[in-house]
């Protein structure tokens, strides 16, 4: 394929013909290179755009009266130091379940969340009353932990979730 026709026919008196053949250059390698670069630029331009996660926080106005919700609907996820995670249902003083340790990822907190998303509307007897998750991050937890938990919310499609301040008692759970 890669021939650069420089050949003159070798014969005498054929000089006109050989000059005509000279104009043909093989462009295969050049095209190969061009397409390689095209592929590179196409992929890098679309992938370099950073992803983002939408996060809506509740209004901080203290004048808005708190909305009372059923204990059976609320699940609290405590994000602790050293990648620890605890969950409980209902109120801290009288939890319906837990608090128990869970781990991040598919086999851990996601399984619990998916189960609760299914069971809560059944318990409440109203398909509109879905699960509410409260995320409470400890002072010693890091940003990655928070994003991981928020990501679980997105994966499991939790209908309502909020980031709330952790209480002292809850933080103490991680102390021992």
């Amino acid at each position: 394929m890669a021939e650069l026709n420089t050949g003159d026919g070798g014969g005498k008196g054929k000089k006109v013909r050989s000059k005509k053949q000279n104009s043909k250059v093989d462009l295969t390698a050049m095209v190969d290179l061009a397409f390689l670069l095209i592929t590179f630029f196409m992929l890098t331009t679309s992938l370099s755009k950073p992803q983002s996660m939408d996060l809506g926080m509740p209004e901080k106005d203290s004048k808005i009266p708190p909305i009372l919700i059923a204990d059976a609907r609320t699940m609290t996820i405590l994000v602790g130091p050293d990648n620890k995670l605890k969950t409980y249902m209902g109120q801290f003083t009288s939890p319906l379940e837990g608090p128990k340790d869970v781990v991040y990822g598919k086999a851990g907190v996601r399984k619990d969340l998916l189960a609760k998303i299914k069971s809560v509307p059944e318990v409440m007897g109203d398909p509109k009353k879905g699960l509410i998750v409260l995320i409470k991050a400890d002072k010693k937890s890091n940003y990655k932990n928070l994003v991981d938990v928020l990501d679980e919310m997105a994966i499991c499609k939790v209908p309502t979730y909020a980031i709330v301040d952790i209480t002292k008692e809850e933080a103490n759970l991680f102390e021992k």
Binding site: D26, L27, M42, Q51, L55, G56, K106, N142, L146
Partner: protein, 205 residues
């Protein structure tokens, strides 16, 4: 005889047109690609499975990293200049027109306002050296970040007649209280919705 000669000729195709198209596309992609800007505060963003792209316009990015250093940057250059004007009024600082245009070229910065003049005067290579900038003060005594946020919102509302979106770009190892502090500053100004900049991963973890 004639048949053999024919098949020999078929093997080489004229590539000129293909080459033309390929290089045209190549030129297009090179020109549209935005070169990666050097960051004065490199952060390692946590990953998520969410595939929402960051908005391109009306965006301000607050970068948090290196144990609590906060950097601030607005996307549009005009808004940056206007923001600087509002800040200079607030802190009674004078900036020349050249300094204002130069500031419009700075993607993100992290210095207290009194060092801003020095920063603008620097060369971009020196400015973007890691560790050169100390971060914007954002504690309750001297909350300059809140002023920047307020100024950028006012500037964007004046120039683009739109709400400014805020993105938080935090380092994955950053402690939660540092992130919380910035979120509180935003929430104090009733910015209750923001984007968290993340990388991409699959949900199979």
């Amino acid at each position: 005889m004639a048949k053999v000669k024919m098949s020999k000729k078929m093997t080489s195709i004229d590539m000129t047109a293909m080459c033309d198209v390929a290089f045209l596309l190549l030129t297009f992609f090179i020109l549209t690609a935005t070169a990666k800007q050097p960051e004065p505060l490199p952060v390692d963003t946590p990953s998520s499975t969410v595939q929402v792209k960051l908005p391109e316009t009306d965006l301000a990015i607050i970068t948090i990293g290196d144990s609590g250093k906060v950097f601030f940057g607005v996307k549009a250059a005009e808004v940056r200049v206007k923001t600087l004007e509002l800040i200079s009024e607030k802190y009674k600082l004078q900036f020349t027109d050249k300094e204002k245009t130069d500031f419009g070229l700075i993607d993100e910065f992290g210095v207290p306002v009194n060092q801003l003049k020095v920063l603008i005067g620097m060369k971009s290579a020196q400015r973007n050296k890691v560790g050169q900038q100390a971060g914007i003060p954002h504690d309750s005594l001297d909350n300059q970040l809140a002023e920047w946020v307020r100024a950028a919102r006012t500037a964007n509302a004046e120039i683009n007649q739109k709400q400014l979106n805020f993105a938080i770009k935090g380092d994955s190892k950053e402690q939660y209280p540092e992130i919380k502090k910035v979120m509180d500053i935003l929430q104090d100004q009733r910015v209750n919705k923001f984007n968290l900049v993340t990388g991409l991963r699959s949900d199979n973890f």
